[in-house]
Structures are given as structure tokens and as C-alpha cells.
């Protein structure tokens, strides 16, 4: 209530007028009322009413904060956070080694960045995640939907269809092995058509379309509340050419990172970004480093770097607040070899059961 008038989110012209008229605290404004205010400052009654509504909302928000209420503040104890994290699901990647180094899979409410040279499998993993996020809960998934923002045009529908078919077949085999009621029920709605219809695809041609889409994303996610994964395939591509003003680029990227963190937290979804690699020239050798510079490295919580070692693909967990840094080999297969994968799937299925302590 004692809030200074200069700090209220009113339009600058109005603020200047209020200060010139001598108003100092929000309490004074509320006491004056709309008619008095409009006469004193020389604005219309509607404008005065609008200003007072803004002031009232801000003060209500402040009061809630000081009283320790919930809402816009995110205050909780570490114990509550622990319980929340344990019941939260992971989005599995169908590669058990990768899931292991990530600690179970791609985490919700966190930003994961995948960097790698071209052709190493970043888009493949993104498509896999967009399918895996839809796995029903009884099979160990999060039963969500996916938003796929593509800036490079590398999303191939046919490949996504192949991945989805393989995933459905897996769940069918699990259901046959276990023969449980909820498994069979879940399978009725888990089909190729339903998986593909819940991948919302946006093709952004330049950085302005990308910025615009991210501004609109909170509204989209409120309408589609089941979305649990947002993939931006190629965050670097629109920003790497046609940018003379590097400080503008840094500012836009930081703004983007902030918005994505808010989206990840508010809507309890995982955000996955793919980044390119660039060459950094050292003294007398050069190395590949993730693109977009050092400051962008702070944006993502978890960073995976995919690279080659002769003909073997390797994934390195480069940055993670909770897992150890390690490197594992992985492969991209046309379709998952059935027998082997069922075993691995059941293993990871079983282990997540233990962690969450649920009854099957």
C-alpha cells in the first residue's frame, strides 16, 4: 500500500503526470477515487478507472507476496520439491544408456539442450521424444502432447510415423506380456493417428517468426493443457546469419531463454532445444564448440553433446545439476530390434517403478 507511484506499471505519460501532481504512494491514489483523479490530473474518467484497477491489482499481488501466499510467488520447502520431483515423470528416449546418464530421461520443468554436428541425430532424438511424451501412464510415460517448432525444415513426417509405429508396437507387446486391464484400455487410444495428431508443428522461417511464436506459446499451452514437451529444433539457425548487431542477438536470446524457463515451470513441461556446433580457433588447433556463444551456455539446465568417434556416435552429458558427466555410445536404428528392446524397456520400466514406489 505504501508502494511508490513511480514503480507502478502504468504508462509513462500517466506516471509522469501523477508525479508532477504530487502523488507519492499507491494508497493516495486509491483514496482519491476515479472522479477525483480525473479532475486533478486532467485525464478522462475511464482512463482514471483503468489506472486505479491496475494499482489495485498490483497492491493485491504485493499483499499476497508479503503474507506468504501462493500464486505468482513460487515458494516452497525443499521437502515439497523432493516429493514433487519424485512423482514427476521423465520422458524416456528409448535408449537405455542415454536414459541412464540423464537420470531416467528428459526431465519435465527443465530446459535440455542437445548440441551436435550435422547428421549426428539431434532431430531424430527430438522426433523420438515427441512420440515418447505421449506414452500412456500405465506404460511408464507422461501421457502428454508435444509442440514441435522447426526452424531448419528437418522434420520428416514419414520418419516420425515410423517411430510412432515402433512405439505402438512396443506397448502392444508389453500389454500382451502383462495382460492387464488398464494396459489394454490405454492401447485403444494410443495409435499412430492419435500420436501424430498430438504433435503440434510450427515452421518458423526466421528469428522474428520464432520470437513471435514463443510470445504466443503461453496462450497456446493454456488452451492445450496436456502439452508436456516443447521442442525447438534449431535454435541457432535463425540467429546465426544476417545479424550484424551481436548485442541485439544476445539480448533476444536471453529474453527467449527467460520465456522458455517460465513456460517450462508454469506448464510443467520439458523444453528441448537443439543447437549447432561452431569451430573455435585456438592457438594452433581448432575445436568444435556449441554455437551461440558462452552466454547462451547458461540458458539450458542440462546440456548433451552428440559427437562422432570414427563411425560410432557418442553422447556426452556435458552439463547437469544432478547427474555425473559421462559419455555413452548410441545408434540410430531404422526400427527398434524387438527382442533386445523389450528386455531393456522392461528393465527401465521396472526401475522407474522402484523409484516412484507405485504399485503395478
Amino acid at each position: 500500500m505504501q508502494r511508490d507511484v513511480g514503480s507502478l506499471p502504468l504508462s509513462p505519460a500517466l506516471r509522469a503526470r501523477l508525479l508532477a501532481a504530487g502523488f507519492q504512494t499507491a494508497q493516495e491514489l486509491l483514496e482519491t477515487g476515479p472522479c477525483g483523479l480525473s479532475k486533478e490530473i486532467g485525464i478522462s474518467r475511464e482512463e482514471a478507472l483503468e489506472a486505479l484497477q491496475v494499482v489495485r491489482q498490483e497492491c493485491a499481488g504485493d499483499a499476497a507476496k508479503t503474507a506468504g501466499g501462493s500464486g505468482s510467488t513460487r515458494k516452497c520447502t525443499a521437502l515439497e520439491l523432493l516429493e514433487e520431483e519424485q512423482t514427476q515423470g521423465f520422458i524416456i528416449t528409448f535408449c537405455s544408456a542415454l536414459d541412464n546418464i540423464l537420470g531416467g530421461g528428459v526431465q519435465l520443468t527443465k530446459i535440455t539442450e542437445i548440441c551436435g554436428a550435422p547428421g549426428v541425430g539431434k532431430t531424430q532424438l527430438c522426433m523420438q521424444l515427441a512420440v515418447d511424451v505421449q506414452i500412456p501412464e500405465c506404460f511408464g510415460g507422461v501421457a502428454g502432447e508435444a509442440v514441435f517448432i522447426d526452424t531448419e525444415g528437418s522434420f520428416m513426417v514419414d520418419r516420425a510415423a515410423d517411430i510412432a509405429t515402433a512405439c505402438v508396437r512396443h506397448c502392444q507387446l508389453i500389454a500382451e506380456a502383462h495382460q492387464e486391464e488398464d494396459h489394454l484400455q490405454a492401447l485403444e487410444t494410443f495409435s499412430l493417428e492419435s500420436i501424430l495428431s498430438h504433435i503440434y508443428y510450427f515452421r518458423c522461417r526466421d528469428y522474428i517468426e520464432l520470437l513471435a511464436q514463443v510470445y504466443l506459446l503461453p496462450d497456446f499451452l493454456s488452451e492445450h493443457s496436456k502439452v508436456r514437451l516443447v521442442v525447438i529444433d534449431g535454435i541457432a539457425f535463425p540467429f546465426r546469419h544476417d545479424f550484424e548487431d551481436l548485442s541485439l542477438r544476445t539480448r533476444l536470446l536471453n529474453g527467449l531463454a527467460q520465456q522458455l524457463i517460465i513456460i517450462a515451470n508454469d506448464h510443467k513441461s520439458a523444453v528441448v532445444l537443439t543447437n549447432q556446433m561452431t569451430t573455435r580457433f585456438g592457438q594452433n588447433q581448432s575445436m568444435l564448440v556449441p554455437a551461440l556463444g558462452e552466454s547462451w551456455g547458461h540458458a539450458a539446465t542440462v546440456r548433451l553433446i552428440f559427437h562422432w568417434d570414427n563411425t560410432q556416435r557418442l553422447a556426452t552429458l556435458y552439463k547437469s545439476p544432478s547427474q555425473k558427466e559421462s559419455t555413452i555410445p548410441y545408434n540410430i536404428t531404422v526400427s527398434i530390434p524387438l527382442g533386445m528392446e523389450i528386455q531393456r524397456w522392461e528393465q527401465s520400466f521396472g526401475s522407474t517403478e522402484i523409484v516412484r514406489g507405485r504399485q503395478t
Binding site: P9, L10, S11, P12, L14, E50, A51, V54, A117, P118, G119, G121, Q124, A130, E152, G153, S154, V157, D158, A160, A161, L196, S197, H198, I199, Y200, Y201, F202, R203, C204, R205, D206, Y207, I208, E209, L211, A212, Y215, L216, D219, F220, G234, A236, F237, H241, D242, L248, R251, L252, Q276, M277, T278, T279, Q285, S286, L288, W308, N310, I332, V334
Partner: protein, 303 residues
């Protein structure tokens, strides 16, 4: 979309006039400002500025489609999804042929047959759909002056003798191949920018650029300071324009690179027996999605 003027974004006339006083006329200018700056230039409160931001974003943002809708659209017209190369094992590995709607890159050491392949693809594109072609015209951007019309007729006559049985048919085919000789990076970029109108007017179904590396190599010496960034800039701009054109008109595009036997210090995949990778480096490769690297080994992106 970025250059869309604000008045087409459904902002009020007076707001547009006020913004134009600050030189903010396009959606791009608007979206690049921070919230505080926007409050200053529009004179609106915080909440109203957020509403304006959403309005302008709506004008620029892409349309949503579900993956299912994309699949249905492709399955309605399956023959338009690929251009078969008439080399059966290559077509099998590529799952049909050169995909329409995306960029394909072809790279090899000199003398392996890239230009011959491009000439053959030009012939194939002019064939009717029943024979596996696209029944359309071809734009061939030649930077090395390697295109030979006589060779084109020789290939057509020998590969498809039953179809090109008369001179009339051969001339019809040659009339639909539009050749442009571009010798500098700037002119190549200008040509790419003018493609949109040409495609519509001449009913183009295939675009070939032979080769990208030769112009780039001529003009950008990476040992000089600052050239690397400029070169990446040129390539990225060209690639994004080509991608836009390819997706918009659903055309396959073929880019050629000739490569040198130099062992480049940022290349870590050179092995004997396989093609050496081309002059352009890692960061340039992000631009292209599909490339038939080694036909005997299944390429990752085709699966």
C-alpha cells in the same frame, strides 16, 4: 513475415503513426524491442503492451499444423514426394529418390560424375509422371560453365531411346531446361532471390546449383580475417532462401560441391575409400538436411 508493416498487423492507425515517429514500422522492429522500450514508445501500460505484443506476434507467427495433417497431405499425392534417380540401389537407400520440398547436397572429389548426375536429373525431371519424372521445367544455375547441351541430348537419347524417338521431343525437353551462368556469389544470391517468380511463371519442378563450392572458394579465402563469418553468412542466407523456395513449391533442389583432397583440420571423418568431404566446413553443413554421402552405406537421414 518479418517485414510485414504494423498497420497490417491490425494495430490502430494512431498507434502506427506514433511508432513510425520512432522509426518502428515493421513487425521486426516491434518485436526486437524490450518491454520497457515498448512502454516508452507506445505510451501504454505494462498490461496493454503485453496485449499489443501478442497482437503483433499473431500477425507474424506461423500457422499450426499437426503431424497427422502433414502425413495426410503427403499421402494424398505420393508420386509428388520423390524424384527417382533411376539408379535403383540409390533410390532404395533414399526411400524413393531425391525428396521434394528439401535440399539435397551432392559432394565428391573432382571427376566422379556430379555434373553428369545433375544433367541426368534434369532430363528425368522433364519426363512425364508416368515415367517417373516431374513433367516440368528445370532451372540449372551453372557456376563452372560445365554444362554441355550436346551431352544433355546424348544422355536423353541413350537412356530413353523409346521416348525421345523424334527430334521434336528432344527439342521440347531442351526448351524446358533454363540455364543461368552465374560467376560470383552476389549474382548467385540475386538469382536465388528471383527464383520465386520464375518458378511460378515457368512451371519449374527442379532446381540445380552446380556448384556452390566453386564460387565460394574463389571469393572467400579463409586465411584472411573476417572472411569465414562472411562466407557462412552468404551460405546461410542462400540456404534459407532455397529452403523456403523448396518447401513453398515442393521442389527438390540439388546442390553440388566439388571437393579437394586437402585434409582440413576441422574435418574428423576422412577415411580412405570414401569420398573426402568438401571444402565447406562443419558449420556450413547444418544448412543441408539430406545428402547421399556414400551409396553403399545407408545414410542416416534417409531412414
Amino acid at each position: 513475415m518479418a517485414t510485414k508493416k504494423l498497420r497490417r498487423a491490425k494495430l490502430s492507425q494512431e498507434l502506427c503513426e506514433r511508432l513510425s515517429r520512432y522509426q518502428i514500422t515493421t513487425c521486426q522492429d516491434f518485436l526486437c524491442l524490450s518491454l520497457l522500450e515498448l512502454m516508452k514508445v507506445t505510451g501504454e501500460s505494462y498490461r496493454n503492451v503485453q496485449k499489443l505484443l501478442r497482437k503483433v506476434s499473431l500477425a507474424c507467427a506461423p500457422k499450426m499444423q499437426t503431424a497427422y495433417e502433414m502425413k495426410v497431405r503427403r499421402s494424398i499425392n505420393p508420386s509428388a514426394a520423390f524424384l527417382p534417380t533411376s539408379l535403383h540401389s540409390l533410390d532404395k537407400v533414399l526411400h524413393g529418390g531425391i525428396p521434394c520440398g528439401s535440399l539435397t547436397e551432392l559432394t565428391s572429389p573432382p571427376g566422379c560424375g556430379k555434373t553428369q548426375f545433375c544433367i541426368t536429373m534434369s532430363v528425368l525431371a522433364t519426363l512425364p509422371v508416368s515415367m517417373g519424372g516431374l513433367d516440368g521445367a528445370v532451372i540449372y544455375i551453372d557456376t563452372e560453365s560445365a554444362f554441355s547441351a550436346e551431352r544433355l541430348i546424348e544422355i536423353a537419347g541413350n537412356r530413353f531411346p523409346t521416348y525421345f524417338d523424334s527430334d521434336e521431343k528432344l527439342f521440347c525437353m531442351t526448351r524446358s531446361i533454363h540455364l543461368y551462368r552465374e560467376l560470383t556469389c552476389d549474382s548467385v544470391l540475386k538469382r536465388i532471390k528471383s527464383l520465386e517468380e520464375e518458378i511460378i511463371s515457368k512451371k519449374i519442378k527442379l532446381i540445380i546449383i552446380d556448384s556452390v563450392a566453386s564460387v565460394v572458394r574463389k571469393e572467400f579465402d579463409t586465411k584472411l580475417q573476417g572472411n569465414l563469418a562472411e562466407r557462412s553468412n552468404f551460405l546461410a542466407r542462400g540456404a534459407s532462401l532455397l529452403k523456403y523456395v523448396a518447401e513453398e513449391f515442393s521442389i527438390p533442389e540439388l546442390r553440388d560441391h566439388s571437393c579437394q583432397r586437402k585434409k582440413l583440420f576441422f574435418r574428423h571423418k576422412i577415411s580412405r575409400g570414401q569420398t573426402n568431404f568438401s571444402y565447406l566446413d562443419e558449420s556450413d553443413y547444418h544448412i543441408v538436411e539430406q545428402w547421399p554421402r556414400d551409396p553403399s552405406r545407408p545414410s542416416v537421414s534417409s531412414s
